[in-house]
Symmetry: C2
Subunit: 298 residues, 2 copies
Amino acid sequence: MFKKVLIIGCGLIGSSILRVIKSKKLSKKIFVYEKSKKNISKIKKINSSCVIVKQINNKINDVDFVIICTPMNEYKKIIEKLNKNLKTNCLITDVGSTKKNIIELKNKLLSKKLQWISSHPIAGSEVSGPEYGSKNLFLNKWCVIISEKKQNFKKKNLLKKFWKKIGSKIVLMNSVNHDKIFSITSHLPHLIAYNLIKTAQDSQKIQRKNLIQYSAGGLRDFSRIAASNEIMWRDIFFNNDNIIKSINLFTKNLNSFKKIIQNKDNQKLLSRLTNSKKVRKQIVQLKQDVSKPDFGRE
Amino acid sequence: MFKKVLIIGCGLIGSSILRVIKSKKLSKKIFVYEKSKKNISKIKKINSSCVIVKQINNKINDVDFVIICTPMNEYKKIIEKLNKNLKTNCLITDVGSTKKNIIELKNKLLSKKLQWISSHPIAGSEVSGPEYGSKNLFLNKWCVIISEKKQNFKKKNLLKKFWKKIGSKIVLMNSVNHDKIFSITSHLPHLIAYNLIKTAQDSQKIQRKNLIQYSAGGLRDFSRIAASNEIMWRDIFFNNDNIIKSINLFTKNLNSFKKIIQNKDNQKLLSRLTNSKKVRKQIVQLKQDVSKPDFGRE
């Protein structure tokens, strides 16, 4: 499929892409650019057949596919290097979690001769680092490909083909819609989880009791999401404009929930709880989660 | 251990108790009182050796252990029946999720000749009904036993012995502390999950897009908890006084989270995310959750 692929940033996502490209033989050669020495030694254990490069320079100017998997705050520096060193024919993509900012940055800074079509695989975990990567990470998961005016038709098809080959289901949307949708299905849930854990920590101080040991009653589920990588999530919270709106809608609902409880409004409370209950069924039917009760935990 | 046990209410928890009493042979005879015809036919499939009773009357006046597993709003009626029909020697417990209300109700209505010591096994699931019960539901889970002045020492030891035999770890606390602790580790997380799912449903209407299909990015975890039984959770939200305080603390934290994002305060955001991250490790170390990333989901 490709002759030379360059993976920039090789943590959980980058190393999963590395593994699946290798296992499906999608490229003759794979270059990996990774700054962290710790990660480099982990990557060497995973896949000795990739070439770890210490710089993005003209020694790798003939790569035909670049996938950027670093935190988003590093994109600016990377674009400068790509501008200097890549040839016109190369397809560039990224896996960043917010899109409006990336498209704006790219349109402003990327050399007009280069082709960057943005991706967002909806896959991940609370753990980070190349040791947790898996060739099956993208299997049956959505991958959003960002539509823009004036995209190279052939390159877009190639990108679709790539994500399909590694097991993803493709959906096309523009960056504005992407950020709206994922502010609700991903960014708000993470923020709420972080906030709930902080609230539990504060309560622990106020009550002077070890509450955390009783987390099996519900709190533990939130602690998983609130253990996600702080750099990645800082970048998301700072870059999705919709998050404030989402917080406001959440707060409005929370205030009315509080009133329902204070008024002991039986009918309203029951209809609220019953309505929310329906969503789980949909999610399982849509294969967005396992069907077993309690996630199949033992 | 017992001669005749009566389980009142045989859903997820009641049927799990039924299964484990049977499998560990903790009683010579087991009576089950259950109102729902649907549930009765399910229970018959599970355990043909229990006796299903249609009324709590003097035909079962010689039971030596009663476990109440109905929704809490039924306790009042049940107490009236127990007062009429039970003998002094019987030990009564319940598995209700809030305790101050139960203790008050019991102290007000229960005949002084009877012994009720309240329990709360920290075990459950988003599914309800006897078909989901399991004899292992209580294995290595906390069971809170409520301490009060003037409890019968022997009966309390018997109750401890029962929960230990079925695999629980015992912790003693008074009803006030219980409600404070679980308002944070269980009741607030559930309320927040319900509220997040409602917010996603509202956004879906506002955006006119099917958001739910992209739930794998985080929302799906909350949908599990928000699928919990609405009767049980209505009773909890109406009966734990601490829930309003917990909501207020959560809202305070959410407002300051919002400000941090609006001010793009890098340092404060990173320290918040890093702090919350620590809790997951504690929870796993305390064996309150599985250690595998993503709950071991595939």
